[in-house]
């Protein structure tokens, strides 16, 4: 790709990651959530994959790492939704204040796990279908 496109996307990439992390980590207070934040972060990775040669990106973040991350976050989400959220919600809510950053029960942890699920799904599909 062009040197201009490469430089601009290299500068822009951390800010895209920052915006996506904010949207999904702050999702229990402000509009947003795991799906929106994960999609924003995945667009950052899509920018890198399309601008630089795809082998360079895949050298840093391999498919096997993505699959491991996806499995771990899926199992974490399963545990959170099936057991923790129902068993320990009232104990957790008694230590939290509403509308603060530390609030929302297990919603914040579910948001983080769901964010990783969405990111890994989109990046895996991009790795599979993008050909240089």
């Amino acid at each position: 790709m062009d040197i201009i496109v490469k430089t601009v996307s290299r500068i822009l990439f951390p800010f895209i990651i920052l915006l996506g992390s904010f949207v999904s980590l702050h999702g229990h207070i402000s509009p947003g959530g795991a799906f929106a934040g994960g999609a924003i972060i995945a667009t950052g990775f899509a920018l890198l994959i399309l601008v630089f040669t795809e082998g360079d990106v895949e050298h840093k973040l391999t498919r096997h790492e993505l699959i491991d991350l996806k499995s771990v976050s899926g199992i974490l989400l399963l545990i959170l939704i099936l057991s923790m959220g129902a068993l320990f919600r009232s104990e957790l809510l008694s230590t939290q204040t509403p509308l603060a950053l530390w609030s929302g029960g297990f919603t914040m942890f579910s948001n983080i796990a769901g964010m990783f699920m969405v990111i890994t799904a989109i990046v895996l599909i991009l790795y599979s279908i993008v050909r240089e």
Binding site: H28, I81, L93, F106, T107, M117, A121
Partner: protein
């Protein structure tokens, strides 16, 4: 002979099912009306107290309907792994 019997039986079953489904459309609330609002009002009034999250959409998605979201994540997982396994690329002479 057996083929025709099973065909008529299937047609009968489908007709009865279609009649039941058509009859059930009578009880569906009118489009755009807000009649079955007990669940929505309950979520809006008790969402902050029960789940503690100020974003009502997030509390519904991850707490009230958590099993539904879990199934959605399962679908996401299956879709990504299916695409990865089917459209993998042949590179350096071998699949990886």
């Amino acid at each position: 002979m057996r083929m025709e019997k099973s065909k008529t039986a299937g047609a009968l079953i489908i007709t009865i099912l279609a009649l039941f489904l058509l009859y059930s459309t009578v009880f569906i609330p009118k489009f755009g009306s807000f009649e079955n609002k007990e669940v929505a009002v309950y979520y809006l009034q008790n969402g902050l107290r029960l789940t503690g999250s100020a974003n009502i959409v997030n509390s519904i998605v991850w707490d009230f309907r958590g099993y539904d979201t879990m199934g959605e994540e399962t679908v996401l997982f299956a879709a990504a792994m299916g695409v990865f396994l089917i459209i993998r690329r042949r590179r350096y002479g071998h699949y990886r």
